[in-house]
Symmetry: C2
Subunit: 142 residues, 2 copies
């Protein structure tokens, strides 16, 4: 496991007309402030990797489909420096993952249908605060 990466089981309310899935409340563990929310779709077997945010804390949820995540700790002062963590998020495995800055991450679409994550970020998107690394830089583990 990676230090300060928080995994929170998140509630699903099952209803005849269509379910309600909790996302994030301002009183939840892992919430600091609201900057932006966006949706990222990932096709089956496609990989979006690698990205490192210098300032952004992410709160990632997968309400539709199934997505495999890889996290690598690049914080030199961390107890878990260079350690890795893999996590599958899906409707069945419905958790929110809070990702602090300077964790490198990538994700792969696993479901046959739509795979979609929501990121509730503590700051708005800013190209200057993130960097990308080539997919070949690290091994993506399923």
């Amino acid at each position: 496991m990676i230090e300060d990466l928080i995994i929170t089981k998140t509630k699903k309310i099952i209803l005849d007309k269509g379910n309600i899935y909790h996302g994030l409340r301002k009183t939840d563990n892992g919430f600091s402030q609201f900057g932006e929310i966006y949706f990222s779709f990932i096709k089956k077997n496609s990989i979006k990797a690698w990205r490192i945010h210098k300032k952004m804390t992410l709160n990632i949820i997968v309400p539709v489909g199934s997505i495999q995540f890889n996290f690598i700790d690049l914080r030199e002062n961390s107890k878990t420096f260079k350690e890795r963590f893999e996590l599958l998020l899906s409707e069945e495995h419905y958790y929110r993952v809070t990702v602090p800055p300077k964790i490198c991450f990538g994700f792969k679409g696993m479901g046959d249908g739509i795979n979609m994550l929501t990121n509730i970020a503590n700051i708005p998107h800013d190209d200057n605060e993130s960097e990308t690394k080539d997919l070949k830089e690290f091994n993506f583990i399923e």
Copy 2:
């Protein structure tokens, strides 16, 4: 149209591996503060109606599927008191709708697959600040 109901065209970034859809930024028109985000699914031809929030301002987006909304202005001091507004939100018709308090609303699943809305609310869920009316109370217009 209903006074203070704001409809904002929202950006989609088309990418080979899977698109990115904008949601809401803290600097966007219609954003006041963050209380909670949740996801509500609605099956085809099912209707969730009617609900009125006394305090909550909603920011609704439909990133997956297609959902028909009905809004009715129940604010006695509004210029558009008792007026109605219908709106279809979908991937093709990708807008965010900001709904002030005391607007009665309902919605119907239109797509054959998954229909899902996201609500970014300015306050966390609280049973005491919302009321429901029976579906029969008003006509639902497609």
